[in-house]
């Protein structure tokens, strides 16, 4: 009860009293004063006393003499009457007194009312006196305190004007009921204590963009009231600092001078500025700890691919923002181009196209100080969250359909919650019904576990699931997924798997399925031969609980497994069942024992032989039985007989020490043993000779032909065994092969892999009933195939040498040609050219036609015809060519020597930028002969010397050979007297001169001269076939048929008086003038272009033969 009373007393602050007198402005300004009184009214019931005609006392003073007087007491446990400690029974009245000062601090207001709600209106009368007390004698009603009675029933509120806030006021409460009154002792109130403000609350701080710490708080003052506040801060080991803020309406202040690494206690007090200078108490402390670095914001939410900016503030003033290094996720340094210095201690960074790890959902950013290559960092960091992070969720329902396990691949650094909603609807309808179900959190299976289990399940209901990251700044949600447990069932694997193979190659399987889930299954079977690793063969699309699968090794034991999955509709494959080994079902016992042969390894010192039996699988009647094991029966000359099970092996070894040792290998399966078994007798006695000859021939790498003959008058063996091995592998038993042949065999083609690099030995063993005959060996004969191969090789070598010889001859011919023409003299130095005016046609004609010239010069021998002039014209008019082409050059060469003018010059248009205007050949006592040449390249002299360049090359190529390059599609069949100079020679002789026409347009005319020996004609002709076909200067003769398109016509040889019968020749698009090397051309080029047709006509007119 006492506790209850104390509780009632202390619940006072912030309560607004009822306002019977609204005009008094009863709003509470600050703290309140209150107390609870209990009054002992002697002699009766305070509520139900009958008192008709009883007038309540007007005042306590007036009733003193006429009524009974009781006493009121302030509440305390000791003073409470025993009768009222447990109840508020008869004769005790409880009253509440509450006083406060109004907002304008003009009045003290007190309220008096019954402490408990009264059910009936009583006849009690309450009165309250508030008296101004003089200082020092507060017990008396002073003169300054005019009695201020305030009366009423049940609940009264009494104001009194305040004259001063420091002097106490006296408060007396009285209660009366008919003739009973009670009066409280005097109570004192100091008004200024009620003017004090409540201390500020909700202190908090934040960091401004400029890096300042801003403190804010809240007060109970109405908005707009001016306040004066003090802020004090203290830390351990430092003096207290107080900051005063005057006249603020918004309660906040920037705190400066806070050092990082210290715990600061911050408190605030305030007072109103209007009338009274009364401070509130200090607020509750706010503790501030500044790290060396702060981030704005500390957590940032952004979408993937966006650009974000984060500031870092160095609270340590010794750190500078200009030496900042930003690190992302502890290992990625942000480029400095993305930094920005805001102030001395504030830096910002902009991250472009942020892509935090989706499984983690955030990036970590550190702002550090550069210290050489190192970065000094503080452990606080900023985090960048992506709002569209996504983590895959997968669920699986167990085979009993009792729970569903969901997993997600979140990073272990992520802080996610797995949430879900369950709808009792199919997932197709859920999207329209969003918001109905309650969000629940799945119980995660331990810290760090990325899975949870939902149990029990609504199999056909839809589960909406997602992951969430909750932070103060916001919440991230992954993309939700919809799951229906029935569609996610991973059934139990089938069980009781039975697998049987039959010898005809079938694997028969049978298994059982679990009852749940009840829908139909499809199955997959996989099998593999035991002990062969994991070479599984899988057979699928099985819809029954049995299957027959073909196998290639039905007699081998297989490991078999089966699994299942929903046949129609979504679901998972079950695990594979535990492996089961197959059993073989034989139809009968083996009929025949295995084939085998022996390898012998002698130990003479011990008189023993190690015998290794090489066993082959049974070849007969595969379809009916399998051999499961073998048994070897031994029998020796001493009469010893024993048997030995050897399992199902491919080789078996034993020691042979007796003179005769017989073995028989018997095959077994579950139905019995073989009846026809081969017996082998090993004997140390002399072996009969039966084979006369034995020959082997290797046909190819896969076949060897074997043949043998037997000695006459020998008993026929029961069989033959041929054993073969590669040479050098004699000791390696595993490399020995053998085959058994029937007794009538005399020739055999052995198939296998025979390598040409190895030599094989074949041994023929005749086998008799009582042992082996004398073996005969043979090496493989590879004579024929080897001989053929050698012949082919020899043929290839001969062909190669022929080619080499041909090339060598060709090259040597060229070299010889160069040597021959190297000594041709410089025409500038020729005396005969002095004074010859080549501009004059007569001079040239005379030069070549003078009969004395022929006689005055020695006859040119065939071997001396070493020069030839060729002028080639590009795209010469076919019509003109048709009318001008004459006989073949070879034919012309056979013409008798006559006074012909062999030199024609013409070049096509645009073959070069300049042209050779003339050439002068000066002959003593002979008229000058002028050859006017069009274009730039075409020119010829009687000796056939030629310049095919824009420059004067005559002087630079003394005695050299020139050719007109790029003769198109020219085929000259000049032989004997029809000779050419090769283009190569020309190039070698005048490289510089050759450059210009090469640079010229290939469509332009290009002419060249060539000089060669008579024998080279054919060869050069061939060489020129491959050259550029853009050349077009032609020398033609009337009456000759034109060439077919694309071919060069053969022209008659143009003989010169200077030349012999093999003087010169023209062929097709090229012309050649053979001449002695005594006459060298004189050239001059000029930047002038003549019409090629005119030049052509001119040339024809000047030709004496035309």
């Amino acid at each position: 009860m006492v506790i209850f009373l104390v509780y009632l007393i202390t619940t006072s602050h912030g309560v607004l009293c009822g306002d019977p007198g609204g005009e008094l402005n009863l709003q509470i300004q600050g703290p309140t004063w209150e107390t609870v009184l209990w009054c002992d009214l002697p002699g009766g019931h305070v509520d139900d006393r009958d008192g008709e005609g009883c007038e309540p006392a007007v005042s306590g003073e007036s009733n003193h003499n006429t009524t009974q007087v009781g006493q009121c007491h302030t509440t305390s446990s000791s003073s409470l009457p025993l009768s009222t400690k447990e109840s508020h029974g008869d004769g005790v009245l409880w009253l509440n007194v509450l006083c406060w000062i109004n907002v304008k601090a003009e009045n003290l207001i007190c309220n008096l009312k019954h402490h408990f709600e009264r059910r009936n209106k009583s006849r009690l009368s309450l009165h309250l006196e508030i008296l101004h007390s003089g200082s020092g004698d507060g017990d008396n009603v002073t003169a300054g305190g005019v009695p201020n009675p305030c009366e009423g029933k049940d609940d009264i509120t009494c104001p009194v004007a305040l004259h001063t806030t420091s002097d106490p006021l006296t408060l007396i409460v009285g209660v009366s009921s008919c003739f009973i009154t009670a009066r409280s002792p005097a109570m004192y109130i100091i008004p200024e204590t009620l003017l004090q403000l409540d201390p500020p609350v909700n202190l908090q701080y934040n960091m401004t963009l400029e890096g300042r710490v801003r403190l804010s708080w809240a007060t109970h003052q109405p908005d707009g009231a001016l306040l004066h506040c003090d802020v004090r801060s203290s830390s351990k080991g430092s003096a207290q600092a107080v900051v005063s803020v005057r006249g603020v309406r918004r309660p906040e202040v920037d705190l400066g001078g806070l050092s990082p690494g210290l715990n600061y206690s911050i408190q605030v007090r305030c007072k109103a500025l209007d009338k009274f200078d009364i401070w509130s108490d200090w607020s509750r402390p706010l503790y501030i700890y500044l790290h060396e670095v702060s981030y704005l914001p500390e957590r940032l939410f952004a979408s993937t691919g966006s650009n974000v900016t984060i500031r870092c503030i160095f609270n340590n003033q010794s750190l500078n923002a200009s030496s900042v290094v930003w690190w992302l996720n502890y290992h990625e340094k942000v480029p400095e181009s993305q930094y920005r210095v805001i102030s001395d201690h504030v830096s910002s960074v902009t991250l472009l196209n942020v892509k935090p790890l989706r499984q983690r959902g955030y990036d970590v950013l550190h702002c550090c100080q550069r210290r050489g290559e190192k970065s000094l960092c503080s452990y606080p960091y900023a985090q960048i969250y992506i709002t569209d992070f996504n983590i895959a969720i997968s669920c699986e329902t167990n085979g009993d359909l009792t729970y569903m396990t969901c997993r997600w691949n979140a990073s272990q650094w992520a802080e996610v919650q797995f949430l879900y909603r369950r709808y009792n609807l199919p997932c197709d309808l859920v999207e329209e019904e969003v918001g109905v179900a309650v969000t629940e959190e799945c119980p995660v299976e331990g810290r760090g576990s990325n899975r949870c289990t939902l149990k029990p399940l609504l199999l056909a209901s839809c589960y909406l699931m997602w992951l969430e990251v909750r932070k103060e700044e916001g919440t991230l949600k992954s993309h939700p997924v919809y799951m229906t447990p029935m569609e996610l069932v991973k059934p139990h694997p089938p069980f009781d798997l039975e697998a049987v193979t039959v010898p005809d190659g079938a694997l028969s399987l049978r298994w059982k399925r679990h009852g749940l889930p009840v829908y139909d299954f499809q199955y997959e079977v996989r099998y593999a031969v035991n002990n062969t690793g994991t070479q599984w063969k899988v057979v699928g699309s099985i819809f029954n609980e049995s299957a027959v699968v073909p196998v290639s090794h039905p007699c081998a034991i297989h490991a078999v497994q089966v699994r299942c999955k929903r046949s129609i509709g979504p679901g998972y494959w079950s695990d594979w069942s535990s492996p089961t080994n197959t059993t073989v079902r034989n139809y009968k016992a083996p009929e025949e024992g295995p084939e085998y042969w022996r390898l012998l390894q002698e130990y003479p010192e011990w008189n023993q032989t190690n015998v290794t039996l090489l066993l082959k699988p049974s070849q007969g009647e595969k379809q009916l039985y399998c051999v499961e094991r073998l048994e070897v029966h031994h029998e020796t000359t001493g009469g010893a007989v024993w048997s030995e099970y050897i399992g199902h092996v491919s080789s078996y070894a034993f020691l042979w020490s007796e003179e005769v040792h017989s073995v028989t290998v018997v095959a077994f399966n579950n139905l019995g043993s073989s009846t026809r078994n081969r017996r082998m007798t090993l004997s140390r006695r002399t072996k009969p000779q039966a084979v006369k000859s034995f020959r082997s021939v290797m046909i190819n790498s896969s076949c060897v032909a074997l043949s043998w003959t037997l000695l006459p008058n020998t008993s026929g063996p029961m069989s033959f065994v041929i054993e073969w091995r590669s040479k050098g592998q004699r000791d390696a038993a595993e490399r020995v092969d053998w085959v058994r042949l029937p007794p009538e065999t005399r020739a055999f083609h052995l198939h296998g892999a025979f390598f040409a690099s190895e030599e094989y030995q074949f041994i023929l063993f005749p086998i008799y009933a009582n042992g082996e005959g004398e073996p005969v060996s043979s090496k493989d004969d590879r004579g024929h195939p080897g001989g053929e191969q050698a012949a082919y090789t020899l043929l290839m070598i001969i062909a190669f040498l022929s080619v080499v010889l041909f090339v060598t001859l060709t090259v040597s011919q060229h070299q010889m040609k160069k040597l021959v023409w190297k000594d041709v003299p410089n025409p500038n130095n020729c005396s005969w050219a002095q004074g010859v005016d080549f501009k004059k046609v007569e001079a040239i004609e005379n030069l070549f036609r003078h009969p004395e010239w022929l006689t005055s010069q020695p006859l040119l021998l065939e071997s001396e015809i070493i020069s030839e002039a060729m002028i080639v014209e590009n795209t010469a008019s076919p019509a003109k060519e048709i009318g001008s082409i004459g006989t073949s050059p070879c034919k012309g060469c056979e013409e008798p020597l006559g006074p012909k003018t062999p030199t024609f010059s013409r070049s096509s248009e645009g073959s070069a930028q300049s042209r050779i205007t003339y050439a002068t050949v000066l002959l003593p006592e002979e008229p000058n002969i002028l050859y006017k040449q069009q274009g730039s390249l075409s020119s010829s002299s009687d000796e056939g010397n030629f310049s095919a360049n824009v420059s004067d090359i005559s002087g630079s190529i003394p005695g050299g050979m020139w050719e007109l390059e790029n003769c198109p599609r020219c085929e000259s069949s000049l032989r004997h007297s029809c000779s050419y100079n090769s283009a190569e020679e020309f190039s070698e002789a005048s490289e510089q001169e050759d450059e210009a026409p090469r640079r010229a347009d290939t469509q332009k005319s290009l002419c060249y001269l060539r000089m060669t020996s008579q024998e080279e004609g054919g060869e050069d002709q061939g060489n020129e076939e491959g050259e550029d076909d853009g050349i077009a200067v032609r020398f033609v003769r009337e009456g000759t048929p034109g060439p077919p398109s694309g071919q060069c016509p053969e022209l008659p040889l143009e003989s010169s008086p200077l030349l012999g019968p093999q003087g010169s020749g023209w062929s097709g698009t090229e012309a050649a003038v053979e001449d002695v090397p005594l006459y060298m051309p004189q050239f001059r080029t000029a930047p002038h272009r003549l019409d090629s047709s005119k030049a052509y006509e001119w040339s024809l007119q000047r030709s004496p033969d035309l």
Partner: protein, 172 residues
């Protein structure tokens, strides 16, 4: 005479203690320590893979997390126990999913080291006052990613050194 007998008895006991079974047991325990430490190292490597820390980042303010000097061997079993205790406190307080198993490994490792302490008759280290560490971890729980990452790196180095030095460790 009594002194002689006491010396003889103590010598016999010493010989027995050094020659019968004890070295073998110590070797087994040390081997278990190595296996568990290596296992923990692998777990740490896996956990810190996505937050691989550049060697150029040097953190300040984390002096309460033990750091093993590269050039100084581990001092003794008491030091090992103390460090393990601090590390397991740190890992326990941090809200990182993957640390729970590493914390369990450390607790297990503490148990094995404790058996070594008993085997060598070493005095158990007095439980130090970790109030600073506790307060630090509570105050800075918002920065558990960096604190955890640094702690794991230092723990990894400590365990590596423990594996290297364990065979030479003969003192308390």
């Amino acid at each position: 005479m009594i002194r002689f007998i006491s010396i003889l008895c103590s010598s016999i006991l010493m010989l027995l203690s050094t020659s019968t079974g004890k070295p073998l047991a110590v070797d087994i325990v040390k081997n278990n320590v190595k296996l568990l430490a290596q296992t923990t190292i692998v777990r740490i490597e896996k956990l810190t893979e996505e937050f691989h820390m550049s060697p150029n980042m040097v953190f300040s303010g984390l002096e309460l997390i033990p750091e093993t000097p590269l050039d100084r061997p581990i001092e003794g079993l008491a030091s090992i126990m103390e460090n393990l205790n601090i590390f397991q406190m740190i890992l326990f307080s941090l809200e990182v999913d993957g640390m729970s198993q590493i914390h369990a490994d450390l607790v297990s490792l503490q148990g094995i080291i404790h058996s070594l302490v008993l085997t060598f008759n070493c005095a158990l280290p007095k439980p130090g006052s970790e109030s600073h560490l506790d307060a630090f971890l509570k105050t800075n729980s918002a920065f558990h990613v960096t604190i955890g990452n640094v702690a794991l790196n230092r723990l990894q180095r400590f365990l590596s050194k423990l594996i290297l030095n364990l065979d030479q460790l003969k003192t308390c």
